[in-house]
Symmetry: C2
Subunit: 334 residues, 2 copies
DNA sequence: CTGAAAGCGCTTACAG
DNA sequence: CTGAAAGCGCTTACAG
């Protein structure tokens, strides 16, 4: 065996004095009943001694599968998607799969023409299923935080229920003029927030912003400069809520005295600024989606879970600072 | 060609009426001078029509390389490492490589026994080179934000220079009693901060904390409860700085009036809370490291760049609120 | 209980 | 200018 090239199963076979097929049988764990225990032990020892690792490319070629799953997310820099990754990667690892991330629309600004690596399945979060074109063939797919009517199995949050809780909370504090600081992205998850909110607050006033602190700031400035200034801002995302928070301060408005502010996600930023938010369990989302994909790969029909989203009440909607002009019941336990 | 299996180069060859080798030549772009332009066009059209994509496993096996790089980071949920990934992935894509992330120590709590996928090279950030054991063979490696004396080429930040700027800034505001809120992780990047700080402030008082808001809060409480309370806290990381900020508020101390606070990284949290920090260009770090790895793969010796780290002065050390007891020059332009 | 052989889908000398 | 053939390192029928 040459020293500068990794050992192959052939090398192990030669060193152990057995055939290549025996090595393969033993190391894949399918040997009992077909190879003697003594031979098996000898093979394992030899493999260990030589530092043998099966060549993944050869195995993939032979088996026609890779035990690799691709996770497609709009961006990995957002903590939300990083958590989705963690959840999915954990479940994948528990089942001997590995997970690669593909960010798209990539900050690189390149078209998604399908994975260049060989994958057995795909998870895609918070995007339109139709945008995943260019696959060389249909790949088992689970969509996360996406339109449940898209064809692929989905894992979603109970946005309806969360919006019910959120508006109920604000109503109980006496809020009646509510503004919606909406994400300026045309995907299902945000359409869903808007629909659920408008169903409960028909006269909601809406401003749109790209998901960044500065854009959130400017859109919130517009909302808070209106003659009929909203007393509460429901933001589609914690980042927007931070921008709104800044805007309120810039206008000399007290939070929550003059204006209440809420977000979505519950990223660390919301915790740091004590912003009331709807906690979306991103890690669970990733884990559930991977479980569903494993179902799919095993020929089973995955469930389409809808994960509960918890309202986390913090200082930015503190009951103690509730509007005194409100007519609803005030101070119900959070 | 069966309908439910992806087309192979054999299928393309048959459909185009040429040999498999001609297909390969044409699609790899090595055909000029060896295949007629007309044949080449025919092959390309046929491949397009059939939706042919080369099988990566077969190509990898044949070529013995994968054009895949693995990035090893302690965690992907920290925005810093997400940015490192973005920078490295961009350069990788520009050179036809793909980048897979491996988080380690994984939240999964599993040992790093080398990548299960086949990789051509590795980037590892903010960890000890020695901890990367278990590789089946030496893999081309570039270390990021790590000990430059570890053997592998490195890409680092100018922590020394940053600490010079930072302490200079605090001195100029009149600060003399300085506390160090240090990350409780024994890796080079934090040892480096401590050494650089102690060289400039020999009587610095240090408390350690795990990198989280709550742990930072508690360690800061200890620092700020001392009889000789520091007038400035240098935190190893923005997250710790946020904890320190909370602690100051909890103790009724004004920031920066009673205590100045600084961080490292310049994540969005620092911007939102207006915390003075040392901006570490994470994306550039990732990009430079990937360029170095490409050098390595091409047999060249990569440079070992040291990236400048910029002091970003914000409200948490605002000159206008500088200590009035200070003896140094106050209010130098930021 | 063990081995010889086929074949996964590529790329690249080699032959013509 | 084009094709037939070898071989990358596996796994799995198949034969004994």
């Amino acid at each position: 065996m040459p020293a500068d090239t990794p050992p192959t199963s052939k090398d192990v076979a030669a060193a152990a004095g057995v055939s290549q097929s025996t090595v393969s049988m033993v190391l894949s764990g399918k040997w009992p009943g077909r190879v003697s225990a003594r031979t098996a032990q000898k093979v394992r020892d030899t493999a260990e001694r030589l530092g043998y690792r099966p060549n993944p490319a050869a195995r993939n070629l032979r088996l026609g599968r890779t035990r690799t799953i691709m996770l497609v997310v709009p961006t990995i820099t957002a903590p939300f998607f990083a958590s989705v990754y963690i959840g999915a990667a954990r479940v994948a690892a528990e089942h001997g799969f590995s997970l690669v991330v593909f960010t798209w629309p990539l900050e690189l600004d390149m078209p998604f023409d399908g994975p260049q690596e060989a994958i057995d399945g795909m998870l895609a979060s918070s995007m339109a299923e139709a945008s995943l074109s260019g696959m060389r063939r249909p790949v088992p797919l689970v969509m996360l935080d996406s339109d449940p009517d898209g064809g692929a199995p989905t894992v979603n949050f109970d946005i309806e229920g969360a919006m019910e809780d959120l508006t109920g909370h604000l109503f109980s504090l006496g809020h009646r003029r509510i503004g919606h600081l909406a994400a300026d992205i045309d995907v299902w998850t945000f359409q869903c927030r808007a629909a659920a909110l408008e169903a409960r607050v028909p006269d909601v006033v809406t401003e749109r912003a790209a998901i960044s602190i500065t854009d959130g700031f400017e859109a919130a400035m517009r909302l808070l400069s209106r003659a009929d200034r909203p007393t509460a801002l429901i933001c589609d995302d914690d980042t927007l809520a931070v921008g709104a928070h800044k805007a309120a301060r810039a206008l000399g408005l007290d939070v929550p005295g003059d204006v209440a502010i809420t977000g979505f996600d519950d990223v660390v930023l919301a915790e740091a600024l004590e912003i009331t938010t709807v906690r979306l369990p991103a890690e669970r989302l990733g884990a559930q989606a991977m479980l569903g994909l494993l179902d799919l790969l095993n020929g089973r029909t995955p469930p389409r879970p809808v994960l509960p989203a918890e309202l986390v009440i913090r200082r930015s909607t503190s009951p103690s600072a509730a509007l005194t002009t409100g007519s609803g019941p005030v101070g119900q336990p959070g």
